[in-house]
Symmetry: C2
Subunit: 692 residues, 2 copies
């Protein structure tokens, strides 16, 4: 859901917005045709053949201009009185930064910079740059160079490059994005560079490539009035497919300004020129996220990078507890899981529960409710918490509850007076084990009865390749190697594979003996993603899924969360950035490895990927091999959640190529990189996953 | 030409080298089969089924070992008395860092690190790591991870990974390099990581891919005695193709150690075990560079990165002049060019020469000789030099020569008493204009007669894509963005295209008026290279070619230098590094743009490239478009050098695809990057190309 802006691109030059209109900014070309004429005369040469004398004279004028660029009277509109904060510069549309002739290109860049310099002088913030030429890919790099050096030279200016949604007459949707990708890459993902998407009449069915724009920084959408059709009443509206694109942009862009042109040309019988901006406002309103949904709850959090919590290393704040306790689903599921576990131990005359890491006590309350519901008369609830600040509130909350016994300290060393039937914890992060639930519960299991139950009893980590120019750029600009995972509410993102692959699983209680070096908690996974449409890999989306007990679970897995724990708010997904973006052509395979590592003192992840493209020969079918450590380390697989489809690796299997086929030369390798790692480079501090 | 090392890999464990042998080091496995047995028992489980009790006991031992790795007596050879400086560790060959089973892999890494830790304890510098498995590409990333973390953990150890030159039984030469490329990339081109190339019997004709190893850091070559054949006399020798590979490695690797095994097994009737190292020494001797060749003259300069001279910004040193004056070819060509120019002006009764930037005076001497040869009786030679240190020597050298008049100062401002017939300068760099010859000569032309001659009268810059892991790593480790061009005598390098493309040309005197902003000296070029065999792009090789006068030229163009200026020593080629290595699959196209830029105060280059792969459809043939600025800026093309083949862009043209074909979707884009730029990021100082 984006902040909405609407700009007017007037047919005739004006510096004032129509009275009481819905526009909040004006889009203006400041140069006049006089300037255009002089420039063409100096830099291209007029069509009328000149005598050598006047030719030399013009050449001399041109050289003077190249040395110092000055406009003459009449070459600029009277712009001194513009209100810069709501004016957008429309760079002279006749400037071709990718002109095929090198000398014309050189002079175009000079004129381009002259115009930007003047806009800076007027304190304008935004300039819309004319589109690269459809048929001149060979000079796209020169275009990019000019952009990049302008971004460095004019720190006050944001540059939005016009890009048509497709090229005439071929309806080629691919090339415009391809060209933009080159510009964005060569400008090194500059934060002040964005897209002004030019909409044209769209076919009823759109190519899936249109989604590529969801992952790009689209700041403006140019909508000519001619694109609007008349509805039954004669008012201007947009076609279904255009509406779809517009709504998509509203959903995926944190802030987008619609630039309306030709609204004063009476193309539609009803509504007048006010009708167009009103219609856009209507679309924006009706695209709002549904109440109660994660999107609604998290308005304003879109693409905001947050460092994952490290509750074992840090003590959480009161407001953090407050926020998470508001989740309408999570604790209900916990209560149900506890209830079912209690019913399964009904025969015992006394039941001992342990809430490991109680925070302010929400799980304790649920445990007590569950005891009531299950009519468990004789029960004891031990509660362990290491956060001295939360400890106060805990004591106050349960001071009159004699079934509850509070124990202060780290659950890994806590001395529990007796063996426990059910241990209950909420130590899960967006990626499952990233808040070190496995290490914490290792310490608790010693006090669990042989047939004891852990809630959760298992959890899995999942990844899928992600494209998001904005997230990658933000992560990079956080400094370091830009390789720390972040918790993010995704907005300007695009999935590159329809599949989400499971990496590994942790189950509790463990059946195998604990290692003294935490080596039993290492994991590794290799997965293969088939990339149907291609795009730029900027990292991975990370999700978790947990089985609390029986068929009760928690999930933020995009395909399954609604079946498992609808409307749960507590976890945003994880963004796992990569060091350098990797171009994934359509039809390629992305081979990914990810590791959960430990040296006995800390825990961290490393990940990498390679892209392969089959360049000949028909693909060989076989099932994917997954060496996910969870099975080899002898951890039992969790009770299947009935509501779940089979895990995606199996779904995906049928289209996998065999590793041997991959090894063959026909299977052309097309790119590889050490994608990144967290912790190793900075073994202490937040970035590495706690000191154990 | 590399420093030679020969190591013995004895059949039976010994810590002493045979008396008086040619070996300078010993290659040893320090672990015994007892350790192998215990490790297998702990970490894989013996074949004999055990009762659960002893199984648990073993598991407990294993866990103790995982927590702290200790060898027991008999598990290590008696190695305390080894001389570490000439001992190479052979890591236990049974360790599979890419074992398919994740748990076995985990324990393999633990054992691997244990062995490296012991080698470090013995102060060994080098360890040879067992080869990755041929059929398990899926775990190559895990192998790489283990290597990288070992490199970080053992700063005293150099790791050489065994890589077979091909895999059995398929004779697949591609995959071993492919796997090594993954290891090298994921270890981020670590300077302590190299290849120990395992030679096997080779076919008579080798795939061109074998050259890929020329661009990789090959530190060891493993040669089993069984690889040797008997010559007529019964002495061990290598087959023609194996000799070829060995000589190639000697030429391209700065330092390589040959590891000989099985030399004590009497496989050959004559020569005994001394014969093998002696034969290797013979090969090394007979591969030495020919006297008088650049390679001979530049022994020890291989792959040594040198910052290009900036004579306009800095004053050169006496030794620098000394070195360059020794060139046997360059000044002879200058003299001949001056002579021919004088003969072409013979009819005039007086000739005025100007030596612009005389240094210690070599060109002045040649000019005087040429005046003599051409029997020019009435002549004046003005000499300009800005270097106050060289100035002294100049005065001394020519104090008795009244035809010579010395003028101190910058040639761009020097007041020459009269108009000049011939201006002679030596301002060329490895890339032609990179020492700012164009900017300097702009300043001189004002004193040139309308029909005046400049020697040189034109020069061109040329590039070709280059692969060299070593050069890229060295440039990166110089700090900065590793994007500064360097002057280098290439050694561990591999050309990725058979063609060298011309970028642009400068000609003197200019026919067009000078701009006041130096804009007339900007250049840009876009070229397309077809990449026949594929490899990693690490940057570009840069060359220049100059026309001095008539058909007399200077050239370091690899295909033409011998025709134009054989045995000239003054210029090494230029290495133009890139920011991130780019994988170029076989059959792809590399589209390159390079710019020579100026802001009126300084000059710099920028360059970038994209790789494209045709993924379907037959290639469309058409001629390449080259928008090199030189023509559009109206500089006349230089008199063709009769001895030259046509410039490579034309040669290459027949296999070019048209830009439109490139734009089509079938022409799959597979990678792109801003390759780099010099100057822009650091507008002052050496790295940018001088203050004008």
């Amino acid at each position: 859901m984006s902040r909405l802006g609407i700009a007017l691109l007037p047919t005739n030059y004006t510096t004032t917005l129509p009275e009481g209109s819905a526009y909040d900014s004006l889009c203006l070309q400041i140069t006049t045709e006089h300037w255009c004429e002089r420039w063409r005369d100096m830099c291209i040469g007029s069509d009328s053949p000149k005598d050598s004398g006047s030719r030399a004279k013009t050449e001399a004028t041109a050289e003077r201009w190249r040395a110092s660029q000055v406009y003459e009277l009449g070459e600029l509109n009277d712009t001194e009185h513009l209100a810069p904060e709501n004016t957008i510069l429309l760079v002279s549309p006749w400037l071709e930064l990718d002109a095929p002739d090198a000398w014309v290109r050189h002079d175009t860049v000079v004129a381009f910079r002259q115009e930007l310099a003047y806009a800076s002088y007027l304190s304008m913030h935004t300039a819309i740059v004319p589109a690269p030429q459809a048929n001149n890919r060979t000079q796209a790099a020169a275009f990019a160079r000019a952009l990049h050096s302008a971004l460095l030279s004019f720190p006050g200016l944001h540059l939005a490059v016009r890009v048509p949604i497709y090229y005439y007459p071929t309806h080629d949707f691919h090339q415009p994005w391809q060209t933009w990708d080159l510009l964005r890459s060569m400008c090194e993902y500059h934060p002040r560079l964005s897209v002004a998407l030019d909409l044209s009449p769209l076919p009823a069915t759109l190519p899936s490539l249109i989604d590529a724009w969801n992952a790009e920084p689209v700041s403006h959408v140019v909508l000519p009035a001619s694109l609007f059709i008349s509805n039954a009443k004669g008012y201007p509206v947009l076609s279904k497919s255009t509406q779809g694109v517009v709504r998509n942009l509203i959903v995926h862009q944190p802030s987008v300004t619609f630039v309306l042109s030709g609204t004063d040309t009476n193309l539609h019988s009803k509504g007048g020129d006010k009708a167009y901006p009103q219609y856009i406002q209507h679309l924006h309103r009706t695209t709002a996220a549904k109440e109660g949904s994660m999107e609604y709850w998290a308005r304003g959090y879109g693409d905001l990078l947050q460092a994952p919590l490290q509750p074992l290393m840090d003590n959480l704040q009161n407001t953090t507890y407050e926020t998470f306790e508001q989740d309408p689903v999570k604790y209900a599921h916990y209560e149900e899981a506890i209830y079912r576990a209690l019913m399964d131990r009904k025969e015992r005359e006394r039941l001992v529960l342990l809430v490991a890491g109680a925070g302010r006590g929400p799980l304790v309350k649920r445990a007590l409710t569950a005891l009531g519901r299950s009519k468990t008369l004789n029960a004891k609830v031990y509660v362990v918490e290491k956060n001295p600040n939360a400890w106060i509130g805990l004591q106050r909350t349960f001071k009159d509850e004699d079934r509850v016994q509070l124990l202060f300290g780290d659950m890994r060393e806590a001395a529990i007076p007796e063996q426990v039937d059910i241990v209950i914890s909420e130590l899960l992060g967006s990626f499952g084990d990233n808040e070190l639930s496995p290490e914490c519960l290792d310490g608790v299991e010693k006090c669990l009865k042989p047939d004891g139950i852990s809630i959760p009893c298992s959890y899995t980590a999942h990844i899928t390749p992600l494209s998001s120019a904005r997230l990658w750029q933000e992560a990079r600009d956080r400094g370091g190697k830009g390789e720390e995972p972040y918790v993010v509410m995704f907005q300007s993102t695009r999935r590159l594979s329809p599949y989400v692959h499971e990496c590994w699983e942790f189950a509790h209680p463990r059946l195998t003996p604990l290692g003294c070096d935490n080596g039993h908690n290492v994991r590794s996974a290799e997965t293969v993603f088939n990339i149907p449409y291609g795009g730029i890999l900027h990292g991975f989306a990370g999700y978790f899924e947990a089985v609390l007990y029986d068929t009760i679970g928690l999930s933020i897995h995009p395909e399954r969360k609604d079946q498992v724990s609808k409307d749960m708010l507590s976890w945003f997904p994880m963004y796992i950035p990569i060091r350098e973006p990797l171009y994934l052509p359509a039809g390629c395979e992305l081979h990914t490895s990810i590791w959960r590592l430990t040296d006995g003192k800390k825990v961290w992840y490393e990940w990498c990927a390679e892209a392969f493209l089959d360049v000949g020969g028909s693909p060989v079918f076989s099932s994917v091999k997954s060496f996910g450590s969870s099975s080899t380390l002898g951890v039992p697989s969790s009770p299947a959640l009935m509501t779940h489809p089979p895990p995606s690796p199996l779904i995906d299997a049928i289209e996998m190529k065999s590793p041997f086929d991959r090894n063959s030369q026909q299977f052309q390798h097309i790119g590889k990189l050490k994608i990144g790692q967290t912790g190793l480079h900075n073994p202490s501090g937040r970035s590495s996953w706690i000191g154990l």
